[in-house]
């Protein structure tokens, strides 16, 4: 954190406010996910109408996806630390690794949905299934946008020389990416583990 370009006080405040505003957006996103979780729990009560999710999911498969997301969080942290040491290329390499792990997660999820629909657990079979797709796919969509953002960040690191601006964007991306893993903790607990119990 030692070689930051000096800048005036007004700029300083604006950057802090930007990140705080983004943090507030993330918190409102938590509330969005909270309502999706509540919907899921209500519609998936024991004895709900329609086929049980339990018969369609594979826990080892979910565990692999979980570890991909967790590993991508760690590689993101490495990218951020490389950025603070001003090793931009190394930082971009770690971002690429993060992107790969995140992409693996999304591909696994799309593949899972494809098989679920094929085997008779489409979003149209019951309210419980709709709630499942609503919750899990909203998370997946967030991850997909996170992937897009990681690509943009990699390009921006080469394009922009202003490290203060880059740092701000990096921190916001970090909050977003970590938030997705935090939501996933509750997705695998509520949807998959509780569902398979």
């Amino acid at each position: 954190m030692s070689h930051v370009i000096p800048h005036d006080e007004r700029h300083h405040d604006a950057n802090s406010t930007d990140v705080f505003g983004f943090w507030l957006y993330i918190l409102t996103d938590c509330i969005l996910f909270g309502s999706l979780f509540a919907t899921f729990l209500v519609l998936n009560h024991p004895g709900a109408y329609g086929p049980a999710l339990k018969d369609f999911i594979s826990l080892p498969y979910v565990l692999i996806g979980t570890f991909l997301l967790l590993a991508s969080n760690f590689t993101f942290a490495l990218a951020l630390m490389a950025f603070y040491r001003r090793q931009k290329v190394l930082s971009q390499c770690f971002l690429l690794l993060t992107f790969g792990l995140g992409l693996g997660f999304v591909v696994m999820e799309v593949n899972e949905f494809y098989h679920l629909v094929h085997e008779g657990y489409g979003w149209f079979v019951s309210g419980a299934a709709s709630a499942f797709y609503g919750l899990v796919a909203t998370h997946g969509l967030h991850v997909s946008f996170g992937l897009l953002w990681i690509v943009i960040m990699m390009v921006q690191l080469s394009l922009f020389k202003d490290d203060v601006i880059n740092e701000k964007r990096f921190i916001m991306l970090g909050i977003f990416w970590n938030f997705l893993d935090i939501v996933w903790i509750f997705v695998f607990t509520t949807v998959y583990l509780q569902g398979a119990l």
Binding site: V19, L41, T66, M81, F188, T189
Partner: protein
Amino acid sequence: MTAHHQQTPDYGTGEKKLSVYLFGTVLCILLTLIPFYLVMKPVLTRSSTLILLYGFAIAQFFTQVLCFLRLNTKTPQAKMNSMSFLFTLVILFVVIGGSLWIMWNLNYRMM
């Protein structure tokens, strides 16, 4: 750190340390593996497994918040972040807890 705070904007996200990230990652791996094991190889009753599942989820939640998001109360901005975070937890409790409470009651009364 204090000297640099004059230069770096205060984002309240804490210091970036490899040791903290490593510790957080290892802890998260453990807190993920144990609940999966409990469900895949059932050793406990259903209700106690369910309580443990949520116990591990909440433990991992706080591990990630503290080790990755680095939520703290060291700078004024960090305090703002933590307070808004706590406020969101209250809202989430009302939204999720309240919904489940109401729906459970409706279900109970209409049976």
